[in-house]
């Protein structure tokens, strides 16, 4: 048994299947939406639990968010996380990815020890994929993004990273941060002992003061990016319906209409 300290970063996100409401200032109304653990982060948690089974890891789940994000952490405890920490503070409202990463790195620095940090490649609500690499940079540790598979070998990790047209096999020494792709590690179901732990176990709530965060680096004041405006999307398309008596006529009408507008659908090689 290698015994590694694994940190999993989780975000609670609105269920993408549900209707979401946007406030006038362009931020998301998170109060009303049903929430879930971000799917990629779930995959990262699955990877951590597999590591625990294989190598004897200790898992600490960390989330930053409103108090109700405690639900996501309880679920993580029920699935097999050993400790859960929620960083929640009114001062954190309006944090962009830089401010969020700053806060997460401050919280991680509070831990006695960490060897491996896992998080999802991106979230379903922000979708930036920036928090993982930004946390790694703040901590000054290496990273591998878009990981589909990894194994721990002594003091290092061997990981498979998938890019657009190739895969890389990479080796990195610990401590390191990996971002895990969606769906590659199956989300675990809650276990009975896990549920007991989730019921008994306490989710620790840490404030910005506790993690000794510089107040100028958190919340909207600490966020370099600002939302200038939010607009409804408009499309300028012809929206021309092609009808006809039967399929034969419809297809003929389509091709005629296209030709009228200077568009030709012709057999490849006969252009």
């Amino acid at each position: 048994m290698i015994d590694v300290d694994v940190v999993v970063l989780l975000k609670q996100v609105p269920d993408p299947k549900e209707y979401i409401r946007i406030r006038e200032d362009g931020t998301l109304d998170r109060e009303k939406a049903r929430s879930i653990i971000n799917p990629c982060d779930r995959s990262a948690l699955g990877a951590a639990i597999e590591a625990k089974e294989k190598y004897g890891a200790k898992i600490t789940a960390i989330s930053m968010g409103p108090l109700k994000a405690e639900d996501a952490l309880r679920e993580a405890l029920a699935m097999g996380a050993d400790e859960a920490i929620l960083i929640s503070d009114r001062r954190l409202r309006g944090s962009d990815t830089l401010a969020t990463s700053y806060v997460l790195h401050r919280a991680i620095s509070k831990l006695e020890r960490y060897d491996l940090i896992l998080c999802g490649v991106e979230t379903t609500d922000g979708g930036t994929g920036q928090v993982g690499p930004e946390v790694a940079e703040y901590l000054g540790i290496p990273q591998i993004t878009c990981v589909e598979e990894f194994k721990i070998e002594g003091e290092s990790i061997e990981a498979r990273r998938t890019l657009e047209s190739k895969c890389e096999r990479l080796k990195v020494r610990l401590p390191t941060l990996l971002t895990i792709s969606n769906g590659v590690y199956l989300p675990r179901n809650t276990t009975f002992s896990g549920i007991m732990k989730a019921v008994k176990g306490r989710v620790q709530t840490w404030s910005t003061a506790f993690i000794e965060a510089d107040e100028n680096k958190v919340g909207s004041a600490g966020s370099p990016t600002k939302i200038m405006k939010v607009e409804k999307v408009t499309f300028h398309r012809k929206r021309c319906a092609i009808g006809g008596a039967d399929v034969e006529a419809v297809t003929a009408n389509l091709l005629d209409k296209l030709v009228e507008n200077g568009i030709s659908l012709v057999e490849h090689g006969n252009e």
């Binding site: 922000g126 890019l163 680096k217 370099p224 021309c240």
Partner: protein
């Protein structure tokens, strides 16, 4: 951080001695932004033996090409690339730095943003230069980078700015901007940057690079034939492939079709997949979720076939047919063959 006007930089990805198409698209757009504010445009090349690519970058509009060249930089790895690019930015102080939102761009850009403690906007679908008034503090900013991103699944477009810190940074999805014309008469300077590697630079070792076979290439595709849930299965995709073969088109898919397991993720069009900009996009059995539509809005013509008369895809189509693809597509194939013979 200073707020003086600096130049515009584009980080140029490359592989196998070829500049990534997405980097060229980005250079084209960045040239227009630079002209708007009278700024210089620089391209950043990091790698080994990359100097030979400089002239091509100049012909696409760069005034200057910075070369960071070292044997040990032959493969992209995060640590030395981030450190060297971060150092270069600290020395030269560009106002704007742009990256492609491909796997390496999304790996590198946030590292730099945290290193320099500046803002970064991911996956922009448009960029512009404009003014911003911060009503909260009553500050006005002239000629800053306006970064347009789809938010909340593409239901709205948000314009993001980074008024105070420099550089302003953004990643842009490949396929978002048009390829610029090459002008071999353009002149520019090539500036080498001294490389000294450090201990931490070899934290990650590349053991092996495996080329994926059977990858789709939407770059420069004239026509894309894409299928969604309404295609019904693999048999339906075979029909779309037949249409694609007849037209010399690429095949694409919606998230629903990929999740159903009918076609691999590489073919997925939309947010989370690929952005396409063909002359003609033919959507078959695709209902038109916003995240799909966001990946096809740059198509010149959109044709949609769907049996649901209320399919949202019809609202963004130029021409649409309410019908079953198994009825319509074979007839379209037949007619095209007939007209072309």
């Amino acid at each position: 951080m200073n707020r003086e006007q600096g130049g515009i930089w584009v980080y140029v990805g490359h592989s196998g001695g070829q500049i990534d198409r997405s980097a060229v698209e980005l250079l084209g757009k960045a040239r227009k932004l630079a002209d708007k504010i009278g700024a210089d445009l620089s391209a950043i090349l990091i790698g080994f033996g990359v100097k030979s690519l400089s002239h091509e970058l100049i012909s696409y509009g760069a005034n200057r090409v910075y070369i960071v060249d070292h044997e040990r930089l032959a493969n992209y790895t995060t640590m030395p690339y981030a450190r060297l690019l971060g150092d270069l930015i600290r020395v030269e102080k560009p106002g704007i730095v742009l990256f492609s939102a491909d796997a390496n761009g999304r790996d590198l850009a946030p590292r730099i943003a945290a290193r320099l403690e500046t803002g970064l906007t991911a996956d922009c679908v448009d960029l512009d230069i404009g003014d911003f008034e911060d009503k909260e503090y009553g500050n006005k900013y002239r000629n800053i980078l306006l970064q347009v991103v789809p938010a909340f699944g593409g239901n709205v477009m948000a314009t993001i700015v980074n008024p105070e810190r420099r550089p302003q940074m953004a990643t842009v999805r490949p396929g978002t901007f048009e390829m610029p014309d090459k002008d071999l008469n353009r002149r520019g300077e090539v500036v080498p940057f001294d490389v000294e590697l450090e201990e931490g630079d070899n934290a990650v070792e590349v053991l092996e690079v495996i080329k994926k076979e059977d990858t789709v290439n939407f770059d420069g595709a004239r026509i894309v034939v894409a299928g969604g849930r309404g295609v019904g299965g693999i048999r339906g995709f075979n029909l779309l492939r037949e249409l694609a073969d007849v037209l010399g088109a690429e095949v694409g898919a919606s998230r629903a079709a990929v999740e159903a397991g009918w076609i691999s993720l590489d073919y997925m069009v939309g947010l989370g997949g690929q952005t396409v900009r063909p002359d003609i996009y033919i959507a078959c059995g695709i209902s038109g979720a916003m995240h799909h539509i966001m990946g096809v809005t740059n198509s010149k013509i959109i044709i949609a076939i769907n049996k649901d008369p209320n399919a949202p895809i019809f609202n963004v189509a130029d021409y649409f047919i309410v019908g079953d693809i198994f009825d319509v597509v074979p007839k379209v194939i037949e007619r095209i063959r007939l007209l072309s013979s």
